[in-house]
Symmetry: C5
Subunit: 89 residues, 5 copies
């Protein structure tokens, strides 16, 4: 899984019908010091995340293993809101 | 999912038979300020997108979860036309 | 899918038995101006492509959705020979 | 599979319910001289790894082939603790 | 598939039980002139490859399509030993 910060929302009225009702969030990747990197991903929210949260994103076919995303054209899902990262010096 | 702008069409007369009837679009990736990046992807259109649209592209096995692409050799599908991206400052 | 130019052949006598009989081609990626990039991929030919052809390559599990590659250890298949790319200026 | 060093732990109270009970470790990628690279991945521990261990990480759908991770939104699993890498000069 | 040179072995006593009995090789990626690149992958050997061999590596879920790797946490398998690459000038 990758780590990122939720920085915004994305709206798409015309979309695959299986995506209706899913919340789409823009997640900017962060490094281990929680600094924003230039890359980002659009992910479905499965845990009630919001702007400003540091989150864990599951990608690929594994993104369809949450109850919310099963069988849907989703390749990235927010699978956890991070409380703490402890990387020793 | 990734974000990009539809910049053109692609034609292939000789192709895998499962691809017949699918519209192939060239999508150039964009950054969060909607500026074009150098990378791109060829994606099947599942939502009626056209040149100039800002779109959301689902990749990998998840690209086969739309009705149009199920069971086909497709690794990228346009799954939504983006109305608005709201990334706070 | 990605775009590339077929630049050669690859032979492997000792290989997974499921790969026997498949034609392996070396495809060098191209940018949108059809200029060769430094990256490349070895892909199974599913459409009768040959050296010099501009092709579309499907990767990942979707590469196993052609009749020729189903159930085989193939992660890239040539799924179309490109006639024309029309990316407007 | 990729090689990395376990450098820390990650806690997420709010997460996909299928992730409950799994240990999440931060693994920083290493090069062939076991030097840390800047990239990293969050992986589920399936082998009892701890901080400081050099490990092998399996990614993508294959990360769901361990008993611990089957059917869960996990795209990276620590599948082995490395005793020795022997790359001849 | 990607091309690389087998440069060594990797041992892991503690590993996912499904990996027992599989030979793990370190494969360094090569460019089209067979020069070593800095990137590498750890792959399961399915064809009897050894140090010094130029090989073809299948990645992702397709790496589980060989008899040896089916249902196992393996995301890269050596699927062929390359005899010759013929990329015309």
């Amino acid at each position: 899984m990758v780590i990122g910060k939720v920085i915004g929302n994305l709206w798409a009225t015309r979309k695959d019908e299986k995506l209706h009702g899913l919340k789409l969030l823009v997640v900017q990747h962060t490094d281990l010091q929680e600094q924003l990197k230039s890359s980002y991903v659009v992910a479905v929210d499965a845990v009630g995340a919001g702007v400003g949260d540091l989150v864990m994103v599951t990608t690929g076919s594994s993104a369809r293993q949450s109850e919310l995303t099963a069988g849907k054209p989703v390749d990235a899902v927010i699978s956890g809101i991070i409380d703490r990262i402890d990387v020793g010096q």
